[in-house]
Symmetry: D2
Subunit: 468 residues, 4 copies
């Protein structure tokens, strides 16, 4: 175990990373639950590339393997073979530029008084400091000090004091403030629960007679499972041999689904809280074309997340769509940083402009967001050097001006270009001929569902605060 404890340097180089959870309960089917979890995590790998883990319960013993790295690198046949059982949960964790270590890998597996449990969590508590101090005053110690460890300790206390699992989970949810989508392996059951505002996604699927939980529904198709429904805000779903049982805890009466899942984070083939992510992005692109039309020859999207919005813009505007910018499929792994003389090479490694497609054309470049602006500036320059006559940037969401407190790893406010510069200044900084952002009003309509959304990163309107 590489456990360099101590203060962690919280420097992130980009917006947009969080976590993903998955769980499966084998109900009289011939399922290899660790293998299914492997495929599930593989499908939600985009939610976290730092570390991953799988915990499996087999006759009251929970075995867990977790490690730094991608699912395909961490697990192999031998490892999976050592993780046999009836119920499994898994987790993928985000990647950071600063120090990170296996202490923060999930699931967390502990022995409480009456047995073992494993828990995996996506989200972020806003009252973790307060909870940690309170528990520390009772003599509790923390190894990693992360939210998941806090949740496990509160839950274990409640399991001892409360009569049922439901009550223990309910009592636990009562003190947690913030966002959470949790899968829990306890007493042979698979349990999922979601914060009262439903900030982070969690959905329920079915494969033959067995039930599955996942952060995103895209994990279901790979294994031939079907999406049943989303877990509701504030809902506890308990899965065992009797099927699923639901317990609804109090909610404020409105949801605060994370709109950024639809803008960028989720996979386009997922359905979240009833909305197709693909459709939401195409809609956002269409609305963007209506709000901010431009006279141009070609619409291109920033690969890969903005391609759908670009298609939407192209269709609505009637301007031809094309692939003018190519993403190197080997990027995403670490590579050696260029020296000062080659400081733009990193972006050139990631993207290539296709001269034959863009030369002499007026481009609409659709992206889903601009965080720091440095990559965007190099991309615009790259397109111009490849012969683009004009580059009109259209962003399929409003300016990101505020950090996320609910589990998406945004930069600090000072690093967010939109919190420092006006749209006009950003346009100049990135070297575009024009720059427009979709209005928040339109964006919130894009998913086409009634549910309320959290849009704090655009508006600064945080729906859960520590002191509430």
């Amino acid at each position: 175990m590489e456990c360099i404890n101590g203060l962690r340097d919280e420097i992130r180089d980009c917006l947009h990373e969080e976590c993903g959870v998955f769980g499966v309960y084998n109900n009289n089917d011939e399922l290899d639950v660790s293998r299914l979890t492997y495929y599930g995590l593989y499908s939600i790998q985009h939610r976290g590339q730092e570390s991953c883990g799988i915990a499996v319960e087999d006759e009251d013993v929970i075995r867990c393997y977790k490690q730094m790295g991608l699912v395909c690198d961490v697990f192999n046949e031998e490892r999976l073979a050592s993780l046999k059982g009836q119920v499994a949960i898994g987790h993928v964790r985000y990647s950071t530029a600063g120090a990170s270590n296996v202490l923060n890998a999930q699931p967390i597996t502990v022995n409480y008084r009456d047995g073992m449990m494993a828990l995996a969590h996506n989200g972020n508590l806003v009252n973790s400091e307060e909870l940690r101090y309170k528990m520390g005053s009772g003599g509790s110690v923390f190894v990693a000090g992360n939210d998941t460890e806090i949740i496990v300790k509160i839950l274990s206390k409640n399991l001892v004091s409360e009569a049922t699992i439901e009550d223990a989970v309910k009592q636990t949810m009562r003190v947690l403030k913030g966002s959470y989508a949790i899968v829990l392996l306890l007493q042979g059951k698979l349990i999922g629960f979601r914060d009262p505002l439903g900030i982070r996604p969690l959905c329920l699927g079915k494969l033959k007679h067995s039930y599955i939980l996942s952060s995103e529904s895209c994990a279901f198709s790979v294994m031939g499972a079907e999406l049943i429904r989303d877990v509701n805000p504030g809902e506890i779903v308990i899965i065992d041999d009797d099927g699923t049982r639901s317990v609804q805890t109090p909610t404020p009466g409105h949801s605060a689904y994370c709109i950024f899942e639809h803008v960028y984070f989720a996979r386009p083939d997922s359905y979240i809280d009833g909305a197709s992510v693909y459709r939401a992005r195409e809609n956002a692109g269409r609305m963007l074309a209506k709000e901010y039309p431009v006279d141009a020859d070609l619409v291109i999207g920033a690969p890969d997340s903005a391609l759908t919005a670009a298609i939407g813009y192209a269709r609505e505007s009637g301007i031809p769509y094309g692939h003018g910018l190519m993403r190197n499929r080997y990027v995403g792994r670490t590579f050696i940083q260029p020296t000062q003389e080659m400081r733009d090479a990193a972006v050139h490694m990631k993207f290539s402009a296709l001269r034959n497609e863009i030369e002499g054309k007026r481009l609409v470049l659709v992206d889903d967001s601009i965080v720091r602006g440095t990559t965007t500036r190099v991309v615009v320059q790259m397109l111009k050097e490849a012969g683009a006559k004009e580059v009109h940037m259209r962003i399929s969401s409003p300016p990101v001006m505020f950090p996320c407190h609910y589990g998406i790893d945004t930069a600090t406010a000072s690093q967010l270009i939109a919190s420092r510069l006006s749209v006009e200044e950003i346009c100049q900084m990135v070297g575009a001929d024009s720059l427009r952002y979709l209005s928040l009003e339109s964006l919130l309509k894009a998913p086409g569902i009634d549910g309320g959304f959290c849009s704090a990163c655009f508006s600064g309107n945080y729906m859960v605060k520590n002191n509430e």
Copy 2:
């Protein structure tokens, strides 16, 4: 060193892998040649993911590091720092499903009588058996037994017997039959040479006062270098402090450029022998639309290599283009194979159909080739399950019916579906509503250049034979 010598099991699971070479000579610029080679190899990583290596000459000593794995995994700052010098060459090697080992990694570095040399090679000799036997009769031994080892041994012999490097390389080229694009680090010079038919690509670039060789021009843009020209078939280019010097060896008078580089293998932002790969693919798509129009609602391409041809088809036909099929960006690494019950999961891990885009629509699915047909069958089924009313396949090249003898790692004839089944039978097998292939005549026009092409994989017309 993992050197399990012995017979190699030559089973490949797909068409389309070969190698890439790169070299840079620092001429009074402040260049870090190993770092440039790293970036260059990174850019041509698509040409080979099995192993990679960099050799650098520094004051008559050549240091080489090579290893199984991707460029970004094999090299780090420390490794690059240990590879300082004035001239460097590098290599990326293809991936195989069978046993493979570091013995075959390149560059090869040897001591010959008068010093060290390093050589890296893309291509395939057709007379390697004959050469190996002849040299073995003279007492030569082979460690790896691959073409590159043969070439190095012949070259070293000629270096001792011939007066100049040019003569030694010329004499070497005289006995080599087949395809080769070679970079050579020798006596402080960087040397590139290409087979008399120019089957495999090799081009020359310039960065400040320094010269670069690369299999593909896409490597130049990342480092701010410019493409000067392609190395001609049969040409030797010698680079040293005096700049570049060219020696032309005899050629048959016509070229046999590999058409498959344009169809599939090269990166779309590369220019090969004067043709834009992007433009060649878009043209192929347009010609396909003309040859085989179809009444449909949406054109989609098989990611990533067929997207450009799909754009061409859409533009020519006027049918809207869309992203109906998504590629998982984490695939490409090894992952645990599904059990029999989940035998289609491997394809589902690789691709996802976007229901919202394709539901109820008649699709044109453009791909660049069909090798075995198994993946295609699952993809067509996936599209239909996602609601596609019809799936019309259009392939932007003729049926691949013959194995390549010149360096692209095709399956054997019996594995190539088009060598066993008629187009109609393939269509039924993959479950498409119609299937059409671009004519060879059209394909050869797609790059828009005069040069002759090798199209043996389509026609069986091999232009270099062992007994010639």
Copy 3:
């Protein structure tokens, strides 16, 4: 982190492994505390080869690195350089034949309410089950579930409720039953404490103005430090800028030093509780010669731990001493187990008989103990095959008949040959010509000190029980 949680298979292949602790507080000297700890752990490596770790405090932050493996394999310059600070503790842990993992590696580092602490422990609690259940009823969870985790949790609770560190440690010692020698890094101080019977060793050394704690004094000589004294049973030693401060907690008035440290476990150049381990072993050998003389030609010892007793036997008896049995210095690492046909090869790998020394001679083979007898049987056979006329075994301690509950990893009673067979039967089983064991009465006199000893493994008289 490789954290395969779950039941652990407790199969041991030999007696005699436990743990070692070390700590150093830098008091205005120019000491590199992590490097000193590295050398210290290296010197007590014989106390545990499974895992090791070092924790260092630097300005209220404790950094810890621990890993499976030997000290020399786990740590390198880079790792040590990342562990800078003023105070350090370290730990080496025993090796087991069953599953073992990094979860059990020490030191344990946690955050309690008011900061961080690190703790390392040698020994074994006899009331751990009871403590774990009691704490679990209060909601506590355990990750590893080992004694050290229990101790840390009790201590952290007491740190919050008690006014001073002394009181917190005192309260902690009050509830711990069993053996413990502990080093603790807390609030910038180095603290050592030892169970009320002093079962496991712990001693205090001085280097310039700085103080050191170690399981054995042999660690001091390597760094030029001097042995000050042993930490007393029940004593707490607190080391900070003011030097050392001692707090004595209640004891039963007599000690129960582990006699097996002198017989086998400690290094012969260590002094434990005032006795020279070397002298104790030589004395035991001498007493053995007096109690059980034999007419023989050569005395040899079982390498390495019984050589000193053999010297004693030879000197007392006047029979020449020789090296008739050689130990392979590469054994100790894992090696591939022989197949059934070669089942004795493992012993042959470990030992070689020197024919020229023993041929035609009547041997006295001195060993310190016989646990299962299987190795002994092969060794005796080896000596006979090498020409020994007679082999008379003399054991420098009584038969080991009872498992240790205080931290030495003995086999279970049924695995101990002396608990099943009489001395005569053992003699026949191992194929010796005679076999005699030193009497317990003599053994307890061998160290030459007044202190009481724990000899439960010989007598079954356990001095600390759970229900006391």
Copy 4:
């Protein structure tokens, strides 16, 4: 493969390292040849700790695995299982302080014209430069450039030109000058041959119906094989289904067995060229006592290699023998070097003085050699600090004044203390009360055999020169 080619920095920090070879041919027995080779290499691990390898022939295919590291670390069950066959050879290679790499690991496996062969070599050619240049002039290239590669190339040439294996080996031996003990796997046969002077050892053993070759006979006992005889100087032994066949090549009529094998290098339980290594060392100790008696209280030996000579000294002199110096059994692996302030710590890590044994005594410290003297100086100081009244050094061989050209890795002349200082000066430098070396005349009598010995390291009389 980590193949940093280039100049190698030839700095050694100590005398006394070379290589070991092993081979086994399975003749109708049920032998697992790779496993036997594993155990064989394990037994001769002391001959080289840098790298090791095993090559196995199975139906004309030779598979080889070799790697940096100890036998027990490089091989595991899985690796051995992949090396099935009828004949196997193996190699252990020495460790150096300078750069070393897997390119130099053995066995070397190559394809020659008519098949594969594998070869492993212990020794050193004195005409390698000349051979390399001559072969390079014929166009040969070298990857590693070591002696083994040269031998393989010459042999392969001769295999093509000569009618039989015997003739090919004979012709090869004709051009090799220097020392060599070689095992060769070729055409399904196991072949061993030894240089005409027999400088390096090689012996023949038998297990059931199968034959074994090994550098030392100690490898036989572990597998229950018996030593048949030594391979004679200049002899070729060919082993196949017909048993063993011997071919004797011309020799100068006298041998030049390496006397240093007996002094230090070989294992004491080996028999080399008819002499017991153990007996040779005991004899040397006895002669030393006769030549240089001293009035003292205790004889101790420098662990481990000088213990036998110390026993001999004690027996001859009648002075009691004891263990006053202990060797740390974990040393031998790399460990972090102490800083300047702790420059003697490295020796303290390796050895400990046992105060109780030596305090107040006049010691005879027997060692087998003094190379640089730095370690000796610290050991003497350590003994004095532990209370020794006098330390009289007695060395069981003459001063090492000349480098070895025949395969033992001695320091250069300038590093050898005896080539710079007189015995009296060395005595002062190491701080001993007296220092005496065994005479060469006596040493050469110690093994008790008639054969001539090479004693060039003591006398400078090199028996094979390049220009002969």
